[in-house]
């Protein structure tokens, strides 16, 4: 810093410092933001546009980023806003208060799996590709909840901030998303003959 040609308080020095901070804090999250954008848009070209807009906006409003806070969360928030604004569609308003019903339903899926001997499905097979496809097919806002918490490992708190909803809503959306994924995987297991067709009626 002391070696800078411009005095530390000059506009040129502060711009250089800002740019360096942006490069250091924001750019390393490009892959994460891309993944999130791709899952939101389900389209590579759209995802490119959303990511581009997200980072340009982040750069323009870098002065609003609070140093020391979670930059990835900040970028996800911008990304989701860019995405929502890019769609004329109204914001989804499905708010399920009852995560318990989804937890119980997931238990039912497991009970059926155990009964038919494929309860070790997740441990036995590489379900990555099937999972990715199932997540892509999830409806919003459940997809965002699963992506943010389960894929990107955000806390409930952070996900709540990104989605602009209370923590309880994150929980219920997340539980619904997980339940739908597990039901989808169970029906795929049936399709691929991993389980007797008679297991089908237990969903």
């Amino acid at each position: 810093m002391t070696m800078l040609a411009s005095p530390p308080d000059s506009p040129a020095a502060s711009t250089a410092q800002r740019d360096a901070e942006f490069a250091r804090e924001a750019l390393p999250w490009l892959d994460d933001v891309y993944r999130f954008a791709l899952s939101l848009t389900r389209d590579e070209a759209d995802a490119d546009d959303v990511v581009q807009e997200t980072f340009l906006r982040a750069y323009r409003s870098w002065h609003t980023f609070i140093p020391g806070t979670d930059c990835r969360r900040w970028l996800f928030t911008i990304c989701r806003n860019v995405f929502l604004r890019s769609r004329e569609r109204q914001r989804p308003t499905v708010d399920l208060e009852d995560g318990e019903q989804d937890a119980l339903a997931a238990g039912s899926v497991y009970a059926a799996a155990r009964e038919h001997g494929y309860d070790d499905l997740y441990a036995r097979l590489d379900i990555g590709p099937a999972l990715r496809e199932a997540i892509d097919e999830l409806a919003e806002p459940f997809r965002s909840a699963v992506l943010l918490v389960d894929v990107e490992d955000l806390s409930y708190d952070s996900a709540a901030e990104v989605m602009g909803v209370p923590i309880g809503t994150v929980r219920s959306r997340l539980f619904r998303g997980r339940r739908l994924l597990q039901e989808k995987l169970a029906s795929l297991a049936t399709e691929y003959g991993l389980t007797p067709a008679s297991a089908e009626g237990t969903r």
Partner: protein, 104 residues
């Protein structure tokens, strides 16, 4: 907290004690339970193979979802486009876009 329907529990083939685990396992795995609640579930699972099996199953599922994070990166074409965008915004670090290593 509303009690689950009796029919649902029967469908699961679980006792009322196990039903508590089914209801709160995700909260437990997400570290959202109070220490007392977590201890209660721990104590039950220590002696119940059915619930331990269910817990393993759900853990495996969540691990599989978490693994997806490592499987997809931003394409080079997007990096190049973003670099151009930042350059035209006057950002001096635009060249970093294609060099910066991603956070794990």
């Amino acid at each position: 907290m509303s009690a689950p329907q009796q029919g649902q529990l029967e469908a699961l083939g679980l006792s009322a004690t196990c039903a508590d685990v089914v209801r709160h396992l995700w909260d437990y795995l997400d570290d959202q339970l109070t220490p007392e609640g977590a201890a209660r579930l721990n104590a039950h699972m220590a002696s119940c193979t059915t619930c331990r099996g269910y817990s393993d199953y759900q853990s495996c599922f969540l691990e599989a979802v978490a693994k997806l994070r490592a499987q997809l990166d931003a394409p080079e074409s997007l990096r190049a486009k973003l670099a151009e965008g930042l350059k035209s915004e006057g950002c001096s670090c635009w060249g970093e876009v294609t060099k910066v290593k991603s956070n794990e």
